[in-house]
């Protein structure tokens, strides 16, 4: 596998597209939601979003709270776009650790055991009408879903 610092794939010029550096991490809401709420809406609310710097929101041209598609070399996921309260951090976007973020992070551990959960090049485009999936639905849809023995 290759390192994550790659130029994003090209988009047609009419698509609003934001190229950004993705980091993932904990939030207090995510911490609450992972104890007993992973099959519920609370978890989606807590971790199924991306924090985008207010200045980058202009590029994207969507309303805060609307769905966007985050794509990386390693996968893609639909999450809600939210204005980051922790800016300014232009060029950096943040998705809480969890199944949504893990659709697009770089699995390469560079032989350390640790996947690259921070510093992944992504593109973000509006995804009007697309729904943010629940955690379990998302995992079931993007894997084989378990085996029987």
């Amino acid at each position: 596998m290759q390192q994550g610092r790659k130029v994003s794939r090209r988009m047609t010029s009419s698509d609003p597209v934001l190229t950004a550096n993705l980091i993932t991490g904990r939030t207090i809401e995510q911490g609450v939601a992972i104890e007993g709420w992973k099959d519920k809406q609370e978890y989606i609310d807590a971790a199924g979003f991306v924090h985008i710097d207010p200045s980058d929101f202009k590029t994207l041209n969507v309303w805060p709270g609307s769905s966007v598609l985050v794509k990386s070399e390693y996968g893609e996921v639909v999450v809600r776009a939210i204005k980051s309260p922790y800016g300014p951090h232009p060029g950096i976007v943040f998705i809480p650790m969890g199944p949504w973020a893990n659709q697009v992070v770089n699995p390469d551990t560079t032989t350390t055991g640790m996947p690259s959960f921070k510093g992944i090049m992504v593109t973000i485009t509006p995804a009007p009408g697309k729904k943010v999936l629940g955690a379990i639905e998302l995992i079931k849809m993007t894997t084989q879903g378990g085996v029987e023995v």
Partner: protein, 462 residues
């Protein structure tokens, strides 16, 4: 109603041990005091009416309820039939269960790994290289006047850390609490932790190593370029001087360093920077461990086999090579042909590529709650919640061991992690044709001869 006091919160590495929990006459937890919102939620959701209480086995594409014996038997079969089983998780359970897990991993020739692999595994690798100069959190309470948070966000990840130990708490030589301390935060975002800091540096993402190197140069008065990692030279020199001038400094670091490019090298240089500072003052460093007992998982593994995590027992003796023997890499290379996941949720927290492997092999999930991992398992065995329904040891982020308390009984029929692992192991031994030792009480009572022992000695001496 009764109130349990000195309860230990089984959520994050802060391992608060001052929680009070009210339990009503129906043995329902009805309120907590002192816990943060995360801790409170853990206690309050423990007895949720929709909690899954029965083992489930995948049949016809669905997880359907089974008896405990069926689930234990199926789990044992999965492990015995596997060539290279992976036993992963272990961080949200107590050391007694981890010890049982070590024995099981050795018994089935599997790989034993805990969540260090995706939190502070790189920190451990750095410790192998350069050691680590650290302390217990009470030292910070009583002495620290320089508190540096680098790539960590305690307000969100360890909510009571700052009030209990590191910033606001008044200590012996820090009787004015926060006003006796300088708070420095280095992060790529102005997080809630950073917003209150006396000094905030916002380096470019992925450039922490360079910034630390620059600080080390600045300590020695060496030449620096105009700016490093986006931070102006003057700023770097100012912070370097502050670190040197403190009486007692501490560097807390988190996954902002371990997950970022450079990984263990970032920690290596953070530790070296700390060691440097001891030429001028007292300066120590501490990893902000995430799960409440991930530190314990490392400790147990260390004292039982000499290595902290990612240990492969396939050849009958411990082999350790993170990057090769780590759960993440084993799954990425699709090497594991079965897995037992306990007290962690890689389904939610591993990159999807690795989760795909997990979902394609026979997998046992042991977890009190429904999670992305349990829902792609072949067998799910719900367990009692350690620290609420089961007692045992846990190690705080500074490796202080605290005994988790049992506040209420687990729901009927729900076994503890330790019982589940031990029952699986006994069944494994049966399947392997080994002699299964008699069941002994987990905790034996103190020896009866104890009280008179010394009188005894005295008598015989005369």
């Amino acid at each position: 109603m009764r109130t349990a006091t000195d309860v230990v919160c089984p959520f994050c590495g802060t391992l608060c041990d001052d929680i009070e929990v009210d339990v009503d006459d129906a043995e329902k937890i009805c309120a907590t005091r002192n816990a943060c919102i995360i801790g409170d939620n853990k206690f309050m959701t423990a007895q949720a009416p929709d909690r899954h209480l029965h083992p489930r086995i995948r049949r016809g594409g669905e997880l359907v309820e089974s008896t405990m014996d069926e689930a234990i038997n199926k789990a044992a079969e999965i492990l015995v039939n596997a060539k290279h089983p992976l036993l992963y998780g272990w961080s949200s359970t107590h050391c007694e269960a981890q010890e049982a897990g070590m024995a099981l991993a050795e018994g089935v020739g599997g790989t034993m790994d805990n969540t260090s692999v995706c939190c502070h595994g790189p920190s451990v690798l750095a410790i192998h290289t350069v050691g680590i100069s650290s302390c217990t959190l009470g030292e910070i309470i009583n002495r620290a006047d320089i508190v540096l948070y680098w790539g960590c966000n305690p307000v969100n990840a360890h909510p009571r850390h700052m009030s209990r130990y590191s910033l606001y708490k008044r200590g012996f030589f820090t009787e004015r609490g926060k006003s006796d301390r300088t708070e420095i935060v280095i992060d790529v975002r102005r997080t809630e932790t950073a917003q209150k800091a006396d000094i905030f540096l916002q380096p470019e993402q992925g450039r922490d190593y360079e910034l630390m190197n620059a600080l080390r140069v600045a300590f020695r008065g060496g030449p620096l370029p105009e700016s490093v990692a986006g931070i102006p030279r003057a700023e770097i020199e100012k912070v370097a001087q502050m670190l040197k001038d403190g009486r007692f400094g501490i560097l807390f670091f988190g996954m902002g360093l371990t997950m970022t490019r450079g990984k263990h090298r970032n920690i290596d240089i953070a530790i070296s920077l700390t060691a440097d500072l001891n030429t001028y003052t007292k300066f120590l460093i501490m990893a902000m461990r995430g799960h409440y007992n991930v530190a314990g998982a490392d400790q147990v593994s260390l004292w039982e086999c000499g290595f902290p995590y990612a240990v492969d027992f396939a050849r009958g003796f411990p082999r350790y090579n993170p990057g090769e023997s780590s759960a993440t890499d084993i799954l990425a290379r699709k090497e594991a042909d079965a897995a037992l996941i306990i007290a962690a949720d890689p389904g939610a927290h591993f990159p999807i590529d690795m989760v795909r492997t997990l979902a394609s092999i026979p997998m046992i999930a042991i977890d009190p709650h429904v999670t992305p991992t349990t829902e792609i398992a072949s067998v799910h065995i719900p367990s009692a919640i350690v620290g609420i329904e089961d007692a045992g040891s846990a190690y705080r982020m500074d490796n202080v061991p605290i005994r988790m308390r049992k506040v209420v009984e687990p729901p009927e029929g729900v076994l503890t992690d330790q019982e589940i692992i031990e029952r699986i192991h006994r069944r494994v031994m049966e399947l392997q044709g080994l002699e299964v030792p008699e069941v002994t009480a987990v905790k034996e009572p103190a020896e009866a001869l104890a009280p008179s022992a010394f009188d005894d000695i005295l008598q015989r001496a005369t």
